[in-house]
């Protein structure tokens, strides 16, 4: 029996129940025991004064790359889970593009065990759609789900074959898991390193047109309609995609979608100095795309924010733009970036943001957590939404440093992160200490 924990006097936001008021949160035996104003502390309870802070369901990130197995120099499940905890996440879903690919029950089980061993943020494996992510033969979804996989995806590689995508959506229905797709038509995107537009023209870099994403978004929507399967669209980046998803949802097609903090806040102009920290897939788009993505997120057309945390060695990014790998890290900056740019600077309310980062992603991937309902698992985050902090890559918990937000001043970060009632992250100047 662990000590009961009382989070006292915070603003409690539980989007799933529409709850937003000052209250105490009592945590006992790894579960939410009570949420109510004026709760007394049971004997021996650990009481934390969280007045001035926000208590919310632990954040959930359905799209991260933790590089283990295969590239432990840049991240491991333990360091990734540590970074996630620091970012306020109590659960993350790890993409299967590891080496070897997470495409069978043994590989899925390895991630589950490494996550348990780290004992920090929960790391849920996503299995590969196809064996070796080669886009040919379906992986064994049933066995992977049995071993702990929560979804399937060939992320990093688009599913080129429409037939494979169709069968994946159909087969996944048995196990009630989403099929997550990285939407990119490969012949249009071939060789591209940034968004196709005026900036790519000036820089002489090969562009990736918005249509390369939208063609596949529409294809996946049509296949979801055809099969009744659940398609989850990874890191949506264009205004056209938002419109296609809006229409699909109006028709009741089972589609969910995510957007990254960087696609919500940065444009292709970040590539201006050939800064390889602005190189990601899909590429950073234009101001009009940002506006549409923000509107889509507000309306719920886009269900959730996901970081697409993609660690790379510092010297891999220290290269000419064409030669650098795609991707940036994001677990530790995700909440701060979106809170600063979308909540404080207009557009989104704090309860909306918390919904998009906890209850909505948990619902999309059918994960436990995402709520402070009494009886639910005590995955909780205490957010300091007022203190300004500066992103210093050297102090990040991730093993990698590839962030375009270095030096940015952000407002909002996790003060305390709980997983199953256990504290997995606590900011040094933590509340009530």
């Amino acid at each position: 029996m662990t000590r009961p924990l009382l989070l006292s006097g915070g603003r409690v936001i539980d989007p799933r129940r529409g709850f937003d008021q000052p209250a105490d949160v009592l945590i006992q035996d790894g579960k939410i025991a009570a949420v109510k104003a004026g709760l007394g502390a049971p004997d021996g309870a650990d009481v934390r004064d969280v007045r001035g802070h926000v208590v919310a369901p632990g954040l959930v990130d359905v799209h991260v790359h933790l590089r283990e197995p295969g590239n432990e120099d840049v991240e491991t499940i333990a360091t990734g889970a540590r970074a996630a905890a620091a970012g306020g996440f109590s659960a993350v879903c790890a993409m299967p593009n590891t080496d070897p690919v997470t495409d069978n029950q043994a590989a899925v089980g390895f991630i589950v065990r490494q996550s348990a061993r780290a004992g920090l943020t929960r790391v849920y494996p996503i299995g590969a759609i196809s064996v070796g992510q080669r886009g040919e033969r379906l992986s064994e979804f049933g066995e992977m789900v049995g071993a702990g996989a929560v979804a399937v995806s060939d992320d990093g590689r688009p599913v080129v074959s429409s037939h494979l995508m169709r069968t994946a959506l159909e087969y996944a229905r048995t196990f009630e898991i989403p099929v997550a797709d990285h939407c990119e038509e490969p012949t249009l995107a071939s060789g591209g390193v940034m968004h196709e537009g005026l900036v790519s023209t000036r820089l002489g870099l090969k562009g990736i047109p918005a249509a390369a994403e939208e063609i596949m978004v529409q294809r996946d929507i049509l296949l979801a309609e055809l099969t009744g399967g659940h398609v989850h669209l990874c890191h949506v980046s264009t205004r056209g995609s938002v419109e296609l998803i809006r229409r699909a949802k109006q028709q009741g097609i089972r589609v969910t979608a995510e957007v990254t903090p960087h696609h919500l806040t940065l444009t292709d102009q970040a590539c201006e100095t050939y800064d390889t920290h602005a190189k990601m897939s899909p590429p950073l788009r234009e101001a009009a795309d940002i506006a549409a993505l923000r509107q889509g997120l507000k309306e719920g057309v886009i269900d959730c924010v996901a970081s697409d945390h993609a660690p790379h060695a510092y010297d891999a990014k220290e290269a000419a733009f064409d030669d650098a790998p795609f991707g940036i890290i994001g677990l530790e900056t995700a909440f701060g970036v979106v809170h600063t740019e979308l909540v404080l600077n207009g557009g989104l309310t704090l309860p909306e943001l918390i919904a998009r980062m906890s209850s909505a992603p948990a619902a999309a991937f059918r994960l436990p957590g995402g709520t402070l309902q009494p009886g639910a698992v005590a995955d909780v985050v205490v957010l300091d939404t007022t203190t300004r902090w500066s992103v210093d890559p050297a102090t990040l918990r991730s093993k990698s440093r590839n962030t375009p937000f270095a030096g940015r001043t952000l407002t909002g970060r996790a003060a305390l992160t709980l997983v199953g009632g256990t504290i997995v992250h606590e900011l040094e100047a933590a509340p009530g200490r």
């Binding site: 820089l203 002489g204 870099l205 562009g207 290269a319 733009f321 064409d322």
Partner: protein, 319 residues
Amino acid sequence: MTAALGKDLVGLERLSPDQIRLILDTAEPFKEVSERPIKKVPALRGKTIVNLFFEASTRTRISFEFAEKRLSADTVNVAASGSAVQKGETLVDTARNLEAMRIDMVVIRHPSSGAAAFLGDRIRSNVVNAGDGKHEHPTQALLDLLTIRDKHGKIAGLKVCLVGDVLHSRVARSNIWGLSKLGAEVGVCGPDTLMPRGIEELGVCRFRRIEEAIEWADVLNVLRLQLERMEMGFIPSVREYYRVFGVTLERLEKAPRPLTIMHPGPMNRGVEIDSRVADGPHSVILDQVTNGVAVRMAVLYLLAGGRPELADAAKRGAE
């Protein structure tokens, strides 16, 4: 000492009109050096310059090498093939190793856009961009500007059309910046498959028919059509390209006035340009090559800290 151009010459987009004029004016006295029996001035004596070529190049590399030698610099040529680059060494490591040998300047040609700026930001030596990917080829545009100025006595007010594969052309991008900054009107002509997105937003006139471009322009700068573009599906065939976009004598004869014909080389005769045009009376293609050496001498001299007013003196060997 940092000269009037800054530390590096990465592209013309970053230069002011005055800086571009300074280079062209500084090139004038250097032209004469190459006409002398002893083609050498001591301006860069004791300086070490590395020509770092990650892409095949004949004309540009030789032109730089002549420019360096005629300024009395010590030069080393490094080609990507047969060097550490082929063994997997990164660009940064190559540069740092060169710099560890205490050099003064690097002239770089690289297949990746932005490579010259990348290098310039990481080493103390001056960096001269000799062509980076599809980004810029500033010395080519400078020699084009000098050649136009020689031929027409001015640049401002002229209409210059770049013909062909603008999409993949660093020469085109540098020319667009240089010509616009000096007050010329710039046109581009070619099929849409070979035009980059948003090119009109750079302030250029867009022509889809070569006949219209010829009617409009005072100068045609005919870009090389790389033959692999056909294999990549940008055009159906070289034969049709020549039929539709080739700069032919018949088309030029219909022009209201004679057009100056330029080509950055190497030419594909009978693909983008008619031999009779390339060898004709209005072609300045070989003048471009001659001016290339003078322009590169001027760039190296200015980057090394040479003062423009001393260029004349340097030429006389009296520095």
